[in-house]
C-alpha cells in the first residue's frame, strides 16, 4: 500500500451557527479516483475549499504524503500539488490557450517560456488524450474544451491531486466518455483524483472508492462503487430511500403551445430552421439534443425574448404577436430558466424580490405603481413553506441559497400562478437526488392538472423518465419526435448526431 497522497483529518468548519463540516476524514492514495458524494449543502464544496485554501478550518489538519501542511491560499494549494477544476471556469476569455496556461508561471527573469509551454502542452495532450489548439482564444472553445484546458492547467502546474467539482454537469454525453478516459489515464500514472458528482451512474463507472457526506459529517464510505447499487448510495446520501416518481398514464387534451415554421436569424448561437411542434395539455414534451443545436434559441423564442423571422406561435390558442416576456406570460406561459443565476433570479436582492419579479406589475403585488410589501412578503413566506425552501426567510439574499433551493423558489414562483404551459431548461442540473425528485414530482403534478410542459434537457435518462414524447433537435431543426415508449438512450443518441431522421 503506497503512502497516502493526501489525508484530511477531523476537519471542522462553521459559518456562524451552521457547521458546514464536522470532524470529516478523507484520504486519497496515489492512482486512486475518489468519489465525493453528498446532497447540496452536505459540505462537499466547503471541504474542498478548505483543501484548496479558500477557507481556514476551525479544527483538523491536512497531510500531504504524510507531512502536515498549512494551506492558506490557492497559491499554497498549487504549490502543494493540488489542482482544482471548479464548476465555473477561471479562464481569461480573450487570451489564447497557451497564454492561459502560462499565466502566473513566467520565469523569475520575467520572460515567458513559450517554446517550453508548447512542449509541455503537447506532451500532456499525448499522454491523456487532452489535445487543445494552443493558439485559439479561450472564447472560441466549447465548454468541454474549456474544461479540458482547466485540467491541463492543473497538470501543467504539477498537480498530484486533481479535484473536479461536478465536471460532467456541463458536458454532453459523448464528451463525458472523453473526460473519463483522460481521468483514468491520469490515475494510471499515479495522480490522485477527487470526483464530485450527483450522477451516481457516473460515480459507479469511474471511481475506486467513495466518501459520502451528509449534514457536514461523513455518512459512510463505499469501497466498491462498481458493485454497489445507485439506490444504496442514494440512501447513504439522503438518509432514506429514494423512489423514482412514476409517470402514470394521461390523456392529453388540445394543444396549449404550438410553433409553426419558426425560423430565427443567426444572431447568436444556432438559429432555428423551420421548427414546428405542439405541446398538448397534460403532456410533457422533451427536447433532446447536444447543447448548441438551437435549444437556446427555441427557449428564447418561447420565452418571448427573441422575435422569430418567420413562423407563428400560439399559447393557449392565442396568437403571439409581440414576443415580449410580458405578453407570453399574460397568455399563460411559465418559465424555469436554464441558468438560474443570470436569467432567473437577482442574487443580490432579497429572495422575495426574485419570487415576485415577473408579476410585480400585477394587482397581486402592486396597485397604481405602489408595491404591496405585505402581500409580497406573505407570498414569499407561503411559497417558502409550501416548497420547503431552506432559508432564514424571505428577506435573505437570494444568492445565499443553494442551487436546489433556488430551483424550488423559481418553480414556486411560476407554479403559483397556474401556467397553461411551462417551459423548462435543464430542470435538475446541479441538483441532488432529493431536490431533483421533488422537481420531477411537481412537473408530474402539473401534468395531471392539465398543464403542457416542455422540457429542454441533455440528460436523456431524465427525459425518458419524465416525458411522454421526446423531440430531438439537430442543427436548429427538429430531427424527429419519438413516443417515449419507443425511445431508448441509444436511439435518441443516434438521432442527436443527425444520423437518423424520424417523425
Amino acid at each position: 500500500m503506497p503512502a497516502l497522497l493526501i489525508e484530511m483529518r477531523g476537519i471542522t468548519k462553521s459559518f456562524g451557527a451552521v457547521k458546514a463540516n464536522e470532524a470529516v476524514d478523507l484520504s486519497v492514495a496515489p492512482g486512486e479516483i475518489l468519489g465525493l458524494l453528498g446532497e447540496n449543502g452536505a459540505g462537499k464544496t466547503t471541504l474542498m475549499n478548505v483543501l484548496f485554501g479558500a477557507y481556514a478550518p476551525d479544527a483538523g489538519e491536512i497531510l500531504i504524503q504524510g507531512q502536515p501542511v498549512r494551506i492558506s491560499s490557492s497559491a499554497d494549494a498549487l504549490a502543494a500539488g493540488i489542482g482544482m477544476v471548479h464548476q465555473h471556469f477561471h479562464l481569461a476569455p480573450r487570451l489564447t490557450v497557451l497564454e492561459n496556461l502560462l499565466i502566473g508561471i513566467s520565469g523569475r527573469s520575467g520572460r515567458i517560456d513559450r517554446a517550453g509551454g508548447l512542449g509541455r502542452l503537447a506532451e500532456i495532450g499525448r499522454q491523456h488524450g487532452l489535445t487543445l489548439d494552443p493558439d485559439l482564444p479561450v472564447s472560441a472553445l466549447s465548454v468541454g474544451e474549456q474544461q479540458r484546458l482547466e485540467i491541463v492547467k492543473a497538470l501543467f502546474r504539477g498537480a498530484k491531486l486533481l479535484i473536479l467539482d461536478e465536471p460532467t454537469a456541463v458536458l454532453a454525453p459523448t464528451e463525458v466518455d472523453g473526460l473519463f478516459s483522460a481521468l483514468r489515464s491520469m490515475a494510471a500514472q499515479g495522480l490522485g483524483i477527487i470526483f464530485i458528482s450527483h450522477k451516481l451512474n457516473e460515480v459507479r463507472a469511474l471511481t475506486h472508492r467513495c466518501t459520502v457526506l451528509r449534514h457536514g459529517r461523513v455518512a459512510g464510505r463505499v469501497d466498491d462503487p462498481a458493485n454497489t447499487t445507485s439506490a444504496a448510495m442514494a440512501q447513504l446520501m439522503c438518509g432514506h430511500e429514494i423512489v423514482p416518481p412514476a409517470r402514470g398514464a394521461s390523456t392529453p387534451g388540445g394543444a396549449v403551445l404550438t410553433l409553426d415554421g419558426i425560423s430565427t436569424s443567426r444572431h447568436s448561437g444556432t438559429a432555428l430552421r423551420d421548427v414546428s411542434l405542439a405541446v398538448r395539455a397534460g403532456e410533457i414534451l422533451g427536447i433532446a439534443g447536444v447543447s448548441g443545436n438551437g435549444q437556446r434559441a427555441l427557449a428564447e423564442v418561447i420565452s418571448g425574448v427573441r422575435v422569430p423571422d418567420a413562423g407563428q406561435m400560439t399559447i393557449a390558442g392565442q396568437k403571439v404577436s409581440r414576443y415580449s416576456p410580458r405578453e407570453v406570460q399574460a397568455l399563460g406561459l411559465g418559465r424555469i430558466p436554464e441558468d438560474r443565476m443570470t436569467t432567473g433570479l437577482v442574487t443580490n436582492l432579497p429572495l422575495a424580490d426574485s419570487m415576485v419579479l415577473p408579476r410585480i406589475g400585477t394587482a397581486a403585488f402592486s396597485s397604481r405603481g405602489l408595491l404591496k410589501p405585505d402581500a409580497i412578503r406573505a407570498f414569499a413566506e407561503a411559497q417558502i413553506k409550501a416548497y420547503d425552501i431552506r432559508c432564514p426567510g424571505p428577506m435573505t439574499r437570494a444568492g445565499a441559497l443553494s442551487g436546489g433551493n433556488l430551483q424550488k423558489a423559481l418553480l414556486a414562483r411560476e407554479l403559483a400562478f397556474d401556467p397553461k404551459v411551462l417551459i423548462v431548461s435543464q430542470p435538475t442540473r446541479g441538483l441532488d437526488i432529493g431536490a431533483a425528485r421533488f422537481i420531477h414530482e411537481k412537473f408530474l403534478d402539473m401534468r395531471a392538472k392539465g398543464c403542457g410542459i416542455i422540457v429542454i434537457g441533455e440528460d436523456l435518462e431524465e427525459l425518458l423518465v419524465l416525458c411522454d414524447r421526446i423531440a430531438v433537435m439537430y442543427e436548429g431543426r427538429i430531427a424527429g419526435t419519438l413516443d417515449s415508449a419507443d425511445a431508448t438512450v441509444a436511439r435518441l443518441g443516434l438521432m442527436m448526431t443527425g444520423a437518423e431522421g424520424h417523425s
Binding site: V305, S324, G344, D353, G369, L370, L371
Partner: protein
Amino acid sequence: MFRLEVRVSTPAWFNLALPLLAIAATLVLCSGLIALAGAGVIEAYGVMFTASLGDSYAITETMVRAAPMIFTGLAVAVAFRAKFWNIGAEGQLLAGAVASCFVGAIPMSGPLAMLLMAVAGAAAGAAVALAPATLRVKFKVDDVVSSLLLNSVIYYALMALIEGPWKDSFSGYPISPPIEDSANFPVLLEGTRLHLGVVVALLAAPLIWFLIVRTTLGFRIRVTGENPEAARYGGIHVERVLISTALLSGALAGLAGVGEVGGVHFQVMSDISPGYGYSGIVVAMLARLNPLGVVPAAIFLAAVMTGAEAMSRATGVPAFLSDVIQGTALLAMLVALLFTAYRIRRVGVAR
C-alpha cells in the same frame, strides 16, 4: 497572518458602522497633513467642528451647503441603483441653474416663479442626463465617459453664455443678470441664509427613499441594476427603466442648481458650484446608495467644507484640506465596502 474570506451574509449594523469607520479613518489619515502644515491636529479639527456645527448660525450655514449635495447625492444614488453610471451631476446642476435663472428673471408672482424655476431646472437637468442614457441604450456608449465629459461641455457653454450674450449689463462682470427679487426663495430664519430650498432637499430624501423601496418603478430600478438579464426575462423593459432613471437622476441634480440660484446666489456665475455634482458621488457612496443616508452624508461633507475655511483662517492650514478629506473619505468608503463582501480572518498556525 491575516487573510480575506468571503462573507456569507452582511450584518445589518454594517450599514451604519462602515460609513462611520470610513469617516474616522479619513480624519486620522488627514491629521498627518494638518501636522505637516504645522498646526495642532486637535485644535484644527476643533475649529472645523465649531465653525460648522458649533452654534445655530454655523449649523444653518452647513445646512445651506448640504442642500445641493443632498440633491446631487440623491441623483447619484438613484442612478447607481440602476447601474446607470451618472458622473454628470455637475453638468446637470449647472443646466438646472441656468434654466431656473432664465425663468426667475421673468417678472411674475413669486410663488409661481419659484415653482416654474424648479420645473425648468429639473427639466434642464433631466434633458442633460438623457443624452448619456440614450447613447448607452441605443449605441452601448459607456455612460461613465459620456456623462463625465458632458460636464465640461455644459460648463463651457455656461461660460460662453455669461461671457457673451447673457453677461450682466449692469456690473460688466461675467455673471448673469439676477432673478427677480420676488423669485428669491424665502429665508426661514431671520439673519441666516437658511432658505426654502434646504427644506425641500430634506423632504426630497424620504420621498426618493419611498420611490426606491415602495414603488414598482423603484423595484424595477433595483432589479435592473442588479441583474438586467433577469429583469428582461421578468418582463421589465430595461431600456425604459434606464431612461426613466436618468431623467429622475438628472432632474434631482438640476434641482440642486435651482436651490443655488433661488436661495443662495440669485444669479449664475462660473463658480456657482464648487463641485457639488462630484461631491454627490462621495455622498451617495457614503450613504451606501440609501436615499435616507444621503442626508447625514451630505451634512458631513458640508460641515467639512464650511469648517475648512474657518480652520484655514485660524490655523493657516490651507482650506484645500476639505478637498483632500472628501477624496480620502470616498477611498476609505470604497475600502470599507470590501468588508460587506469579505471578512478578515486571522489564520492560526497549524499544529
